[in-house]
Symmetry: C2
Subunit: 220 residues, 2 copies
C-alpha cells in the first residue's frame, strides 16, 4: 500500500506508480469514478491490472492518490496568493481568477472533478473538501466578502459569487467535447484560449464590479 508512511520504493516502482496515477487522474476526471475501470487504467498505463493493487490497495485509494497530484498545483497557487496578501481584495481576486484559468487549462482534471463530485455529493466530495478545495474555497469567499465590503464588488452573496465565477470560468474547458460536437469549435487552441481568458476576466469578473471597482481596475 503506497499510502502508508514508509513504503520501500525503488526508482522503478515510483515511476510506474506515478504513471498509474497520471492515467487515473485523467480518466477519473473525464469520466467520473464509476465509469473508470481498473482494467482500463492498467491498459492505458501498460501494466497488468493486479499491478494497480500492488501500488494502491483499492480503487478508492487510487482515486485519492491521483487527486493528491493536484495538491501540488493548489499549494503553488496558495503560495503565490500569499505573496500578494497585502494588495486590495479585488486585485487579489483578479489574480486568483487569472491563475485559476491557467491552472484549469493546464490541469483540466481539477475543474471536472469538482463538477462531477460536487453534483453527486457523498464521501468523495467530503474528502475533496477536507483535503483539496475546502480551504481554498473558504479563502476565496472571504476575499469576495472583503471586496464587497470595500465597495469594489456588487453586493451578492459571496458564496454564490465565487461558485459562479469558477463554474462560468471553467465551463468552456470542462465542456470541450460538447463544444466540438455541437459547434465544431475547438477551444483548446492558443487563439481560442486567449479569447476565453479575456472573456472571463473582462466580461464575467467585470460584470461583478461596481463603479468604484472599475475605477480601481483602470487605475491598475
Amino acid at each position: 500500500m503506497a499510502d502508508s508512511a514508509d513504503w520501500p520504493i525503488t526508482p522503478k516502482g515510483e515511476a510506474t506508480a506515478a504513471r498509474i496515477r497520471d492515467v487515473a487522474l485523467d480518466q477519473f476526471s473525464r469520466l467520473g469514478f464509476e465509469r473508470v475501470t481498473m482494467g482500463g487504467i492498467a491498459k492505458a498505463a501498460k501494466v497488468s491490472q493486479p499491478a494497480l493493487h500492488y501500488h494502491f490497495q483499492d480503487k478508492a485509494q487510487l482515486w485519492r492518490a491521483s487527486m493528491l497530484a493536484l495538491a501540488a498545483v493548489i499549494a503553488e497557487e496558495e503560495r503565490l496568493m500569499n505573496a500578494a496578501r497585502d494588495l486590495p481584495a479585488l486585485t487579489q481576486l483578479r489574480m486568483a481568477m487569472r491563475m485559476f484559468l491557467q491552472i484549469s487549462w493546464n490541469h483540466p482534471a481539477l475543474g471536472r472533478i469538482v463538477a462531477l463530485e460536487g453534483m453527486a455529493g457523498g464521501e468523495r466530495l467530503e474528502w475533496l473538501n477536507r483535503h483539496l478545495i475546502g480551504p481554498r474555497n473558504r479563502r476565496l469567499v472571504k476575499l469576495a466578502a472583503q471586496a464587497i465590503a470595500d465597495g469594489d464588488l456588487r453586493p451578492f452573496p459571496p458564496e454564490l459569487l465565487i461558485i459562479t465565477l469558477q463554474t462560468g470560468g471553467v465551463g468552456v474547458i470542462n465542456l470541450a467535447p460538447l463544444l466540438r460536437d455541437a459547434f465544431g469549435y475547438e477551444p483548446d487552441e492558443p487563439t481560442a484560449r486567449a479569447a476565453h481568458e479575456d472573456m472571463i476576466l473582462e466580461a464575467v469578473l467585470g460584470g461583478f464590479l461596481t463603479e468604484k471597482g472599475r475605477a480601481r481596475e483602470t487605475a491598475r
Copy 2:
C-alpha cells in the same frame, strides 16, 4: 420495447412506465448513467426489476426515454421564444436566460445531464445533441452573434459566450451539494434563488453588455 412506434398500451401500463421514467430521470441526472442501477430504479418506482425490461428494452433505452421527458420542457421554451422572435436579439437573449434559470431550478436534471455527458463525450452526448440540446444551442449562438452584430454585446466568440452564460448560470444549481458541504449554504430557498437569478442576469449577462446594450436595457 416501448420505443417502437406502436406499442399496445393500457392506462395502467402507461402509468407505471411514466413512474419508472420519472425515477430514472431523477437518478440519472444526480448520479450519472453508471452509478444508477436498474434495481435501484425498480425499488424506488415500487416495481420488480424485470418490469423495467418489460417497458424499456435495456438501460440505455431507459436513459433515452427518461431524457425525452425533458423534451416537453424544451419545446415549451422554444414556443415562448418563438413568440418573441421579432424583438431585438439582446432582449430575446435576456428572456432566454431568465427562462433557462427557471427551468434549471424546476428541472435540475437538464443542466446536470449536460454537464455530466458534456465532459465525458461519447454516444450519449451525441444523442443529446441530436435530440435535445443541439438545435437550442445553435439558436442561442445565432442570437448571440446577432446581438454582437447589433453592437449590444461585446464581441467575444458567440459559442464561448453561450456556454459560459449557461455554465455560470447553472453552476450554483448543479453544485448545490458542494455549497451545502463547503459553506453550509442552502441555495434552494426562495431568498437564495432570487439572489441567484438577480446575480446571473445583472452581473453575468450584464458583464457582456456594451454601452449601447446597457442603454437598451435601461430603456426597457
